[in-house]
Symmetry: D2
Subunit: 425 residues, 4 copies
Amino acid sequence: MAIVDSWTSARAARQVLALARKLLSERGQANSLGLAQDLIGRMGALAAPAWPAVFDKLAADFNPEPDAVLRAAQAYADAPGTETLRALTELSEPPRQELFRRLNRAPGGTGTLVRMRRRLLEGLKAHPDWRMVDADLLHLLSSWFNPGFLEMRQVDWNSPAQLLEQIIHHEAVHAIDGWDDLRRRLLPDRRLFAFFHPQLPNEPLIFVEVALLADMPDAIAPLIAKRSEPLPASSYKTAVFYSISNCEPGLRGVSLGNFLIKRVAEHLKRELPRIRQFCTLSPLPGFAAWLQGLSSLDDLPGLKPAQRERAAQALERLRHHSAAALAGPAALEDEALQADLRQLAAVYLIGQTPLPGGDPVARFHLDNGARLERLNPGGDRSAKGLKQSHGMMVNYLYDLDRIEEHHEAFTQGEIATARAVSGLL
Amino acid sequence: MAIVDSWTSARAARQVLALARKLLSERGQANSLGLAQDLIGRMGALAAPAWPAVFDKLAADFNPEPDAVLRAAQAYADAPGTETLRALTELSEPPRQELFRRLNRAPGGTGTLVRMRRRLLEGLKAHPDWRMVDADLLHLLSSWFNPGFLEMRQVDWNSPAQLLEQIIHHEAVHAIDGWDDLRRRLLPDRRLFAFFHPQLPNEPLIFVEVALLADMPDAIAPLIAKRSEPLPASSYKTAVFYSISNCEPGLRGVSLGNFLIKRVAEHLKRELPRIRQFCTLSPLPGFAAWLQGLSSLDDLPGLKPAQRERAAQALERLRHHSAAALAGPAALEDEALQADLRQLAAVYLIGQTPLPGGDPVARFHLDNGARLERLNPGGDRSAKGLKQSHGMMVNYLYDLDRIEEHHEAFTQGEIATARAVSGLL
Amino acid sequence: MAIVDSWTSARAARQVLALARKLLSERGQANSLGLAQDLIGRMGALAAPAWPAVFDKLAADFNPEPDAVLRAAQAYADAPGTETLRALTELSEPPRQELFRRLNRAPGGTGTLVRMRRRLLEGLKAHPDWRMVDADLLHLLSSWFNPGFLEMRQVDWNSPAQLLEQIIHHEAVHAIDGWDDLRRRLLPDRRLFAFFHPQLPNEPLIFVEVALLADMPDAIAPLIAKRSEPLPASSYKTAVFYSISNCEPGLRGVSLGNFLIKRVAEHLKRELPRIRQFCTLSPLPGFAAWLQGLSSLDDLPGLKPAQRERAAQALERLRHHSAAALAGPAALEDEALQADLRQLAAVYLIGQTPLPGGDPVARFHLDNGARLERLNPGGDRSAKGLKQSHGMMVNYLYDLDRIEEHHEAFTQGEIATARAVSGLL
Amino acid sequence: MAIVDSWTSARAARQVLALARKLLSERGQANSLGLAQDLIGRMGALAAPAWPAVFDKLAADFNPEPDAVLRAAQAYADAPGTETLRALTELSEPPRQELFRRLNRAPGGTGTLVRMRRRLLEGLKAHPDWRMVDADLLHLLSSWFNPGFLEMRQVDWNSPAQLLEQIIHHEAVHAIDGWDDLRRRLLPDRRLFAFFHPQLPNEPLIFVEVALLADMPDAIAPLIAKRSEPLPASSYKTAVFYSISNCEPGLRGVSLGNFLIKRVAEHLKRELPRIRQFCTLSPLPGFAAWLQGLSSLDDLPGLKPAQRERAAQALERLRHHSAAALAGPAALEDEALQADLRQLAAVYLIGQTPLPGGDPVARFHLDNGARLERLNPGGDRSAKGLKQSHGMMVNYLYDLDRIEEHHEAFTQGEIATARAVSGLL
């Protein structure tokens, strides 16, 4: 049985590759479309066990010819010019790229390539050479899913049920507990915006959830409470990005969140001129693990001696609590302990080298040009929040007039930090 | 005055280039969007005299580093692998491409690049080195305007007036003489389909006009008559593509017409299952000039001796008529003369090497997989028709089941030809 | 406190009535709109206790003047003609109608009147004189909600969530148990169609649910099973209307269901030419109560002696079972008992005078021109089904070519009945 | 031949009437729809000569029964109550109304009735008894085309060509000279709004053209100049209704213009908060004819002696000019003459009894609550303008806060008049 399956898989993979080679060798475009449609059909029907063979071949066989490239590079170096350059760029581009472009021309091609990359990424660790294939896919998808081509749509209770169902499914930060919970998140003081691509009109690519509040929030629970009373529009002063979720793993590495946040901020500024500030209420997912693994503060060269001294004292005090105790609800009631946690969270965010250590959420917002605004101990009292970050949450502030400046500074290794945080050190 | 202008132009061009370099050097994506928007604004405001300096620099300065490429090619040749390949592809791609991709990310970027290429093409002959810039633009635009991203829409009398106005303006084959003429071409027995890109939703890229008839037509006049009575739907048996027009010179070389014709054919087949055949009624624009310049038939090696003999006799007979006479309406009444013209049109289409000589319309349809079906002397009695082709028109037949086969044959140097035409030789 | 409330109510009612009189007395139309908008606002804010006073006055004060009408009728009888007729129709129409028409002209007017009638109907039994108001409202709403003005829309999983939520809420026949249940009822082999009015674009007025099946069904459970596998489209042969629900009590008496069913049938016939038959699977809600109250068959003059004899035997046998036993699940397993129930159901439907007794569902479909096609004992095994109809369900067949004939017969007191049912007597 | 036609007509009319009687006698609603559809089909095919017979019968045969009405009126007078009222309203309503309501239920019914009334109105003068039919049609159409059911849409250069074509066709005040002229009237400083009914979604019912200007205009030519430069949005201070046209003669008497103007004014106020005033620039169509027929000012009792004296002097001076001279372009250059005309125009508008004499445009705006704001001699120098009104144009001002007050005053016989006009007397 397994042997039969394996035979079938191998044959299906060979057929896909043969068709791919045929599509790539097609000179004109008259047949390309038909061939691409065939290939898309076969790829859609290809079973999981058949894919590794396809990826292996895509990585091994669809590369530039080393000798030809070398000759072209030599010719270009000898006489840089239109013709030598053309030859060079043609020969040095992996033929895979042209194959993917041709697939993308046919109906359903874009979706097929995105789904193919999803599979590829799942096996990437085990097959390092597939990275060559991935580089080409990422290069092309970044071009095709560039924000100029994306459409931002507000999702609300008037949106199609099939779309809302996907939102429920993909919310990755603060899970949505069914339709009633979603409905609350779509009342007027909550907004949800998503990016769509014209080729995948019914599939949200990424979405962000926004709460319209009077003030910058210090805890997540009220924002996602299912039965809270909606705030009247006259009170909206602060727009809080409290959750951002990617829906499509096949687009990993394609920059979307950054553009979505900024486009939403501009949209809300126009619609609600009273909004004074845009900020986040974000988790600090790596904090607990970092703290756990922290033996000393010596390898944090960014701290000044006095800072290091005080942080070491805080760390010392924390050592008296077991890991379980630190991640338990009782810890939230211990004010001194919370103060120590806050101080070490500041160290975690602005004391590491390179900044901001390994925290992906912090890196995302800071690289976007946000400012590290406030630390909120006890901001997330969920089990997950306690376990990953001892309940700590962070506000990052998006000051639309200064995000370029902050981003610039961040690329120079400097974090824009409000005094409320920097003063903790 | 001219000096002042020239100074202003030069300064504006320098500013554009400086911004372009800044955009390209930006590492993260946070600032890219803002920079790209600035650059798009400046490019939109750049006066005509400033562009050549921009194009010169784009051609001269945004190229791969010859030495770096050579080293990367050597490294790749020594040890082909993920890392050496990544280095090679990065270093051998002209940095212009990344610049254009970043522009394309911002609102309005796509349109700006298309309009920039329009300008570039206008000066290409005079500035051969701009071809390097053009190659990169074409490469990227082909990827962004691939048919998978395009939307086909039917244009009819319910379409927005602003769109219909563009159709009137861009019809290149059989000019539309105002709104009443257009209206006739949108009655139920005439159809018009266009491609649109999501980034340019109000600008048709290319459109094709279709007549629904009982039989394959042999003359254009009845198809574009302003006051003709619409045919009842029950009589539709043949769909005739009688005009195809590109609207956007900045997309020259991006393959659109081929895909449009096929998508329209599929659409009509679904909507009107009674349609039995799809064909064109096409001009033969190079015929008169070719005939004029034809001194002998000796350099047409494709002809067999007997064919050459008969064609030479026909040519000889035509020599008795002046060029003016051949392009005059009286010639249309001379049956013997028309027979000679038809024979030589067959030679023009299937006797040249390489096939089909320099006729762009014939090349377009034959490469698409159409069959050369019939020659129609006197099919176009307009002044332009008489002048360019002595009134000759051609039907190319799109047999949807055989277009791949015909295309394949054409790439091998063979033209699919109906006996009605091949028999003329 | 109650006294204060009562004072407030009385004052609010007086204000509404004063405004109503002002609106009615307005001669031109310039001010009508503003007055109507004011009145709509006040009516929307009127608390429940204030309404009876409004309805009382509407019934008492907005009537034709008896003397004036009598004089006009005399004048018309003396000299029938344009002027006497005009005077008569003007004077005999209750001024309420003009009031309601003026309200209906303003934004939100239609909805306000529909909601007002909803309240009025709730109190109609206790206030018989309100029937005069109701007659005028029904007269006008029938004109404004005539099917020519309604839009039929298919509701599916792509419909707005807010609409689907209303569907879940209003399904009156076979309750929808949440979003997953609804989703199953919107898969391709289930359809849902609703009527909308342009003035109330987000409020479904009535909807019908359809199952696409191979054969006429004899039980409801498989049709509303939450996890059933969708049938492939190639198997659709029968369209079954298995549930029809009104959403708006304020439109009671306005004929909607009849038109909806026919429009849906025509729509499905066009979309799915393979559908051979349209039928219902309907409850028999009054059957159990009728049977319970049936002392003898003597007052069913429609039965012939032999029929009466056999029915009486069946009835006699049923007397041996307690009411609880008849409505219990065990009864479903007793074949003889089910046969007796089926026979008496036939008596219930076609033996009463006038036909079909008091069963509203039967009356609805038979008056629509459907044929009584089949009785299905045990078709509804739910507690409600057992209690109301001993589990009996009915198929009514909509033969589109014969519905007029059947309807005609029904108005003459004759029920179109398939032999499978008439043979039971 | 004529005899044959007449026979055919008579038969077709009889068939229509027979079907109408059948539809009306139908008790249930099951067959109504089918019958109504048949009848609509036949009415659509009915030739012009057949209609008078239909209208004659509709006027003669579909009336209330005099005796029955009289008995019902007596019964109602004896005992006013629910049942006697119901009987009265049923018996006194002409059965025509129910017939028309049933027609209106079927697809296409509304359009059929509107077109039928168009025909009816054309023959109304010659057939006074058709007024009974017209009264019923107007009664129902007023209810169905009430503004609450109408949709206001802005028409612009993005609107469907088929709609724009109708606009060109129906503009009745200042003719639109083809597509280019229309295009100018749709540039940003010109607006066009129309009412549509859901049952006739592609047919504008009435439309108004608006110019956005800095100041109240005193001449029409610049507003409708084909090549004028659009005004920048920052200059818009005044919105001028410069043309209002009904598209559907079958809706004569149904109040639409009043509501359209107010809804447009509210829409513009929201969109362009800088707009300070709304006014018209209107013709004075009856002025020249009135002046021509004016023998003395004695029958204008509204004038005070001094006013009469001065007006008589002006009239005397005008007597020195021939009618042709007064309607010629030279008259426009004679300042003294223009002053006299202005004075008499004021007399024409505010000196007649009842106000404002027979001028339909003045009556329309004044009854809407507008104020008579300014007289503009030489405002319309077109041949038609000179002939009908000696070139005089009028501004009526819509002060949204005071239109109710002005309308109220007008119904009391008083015209709201700016001092600039009243001072002329």
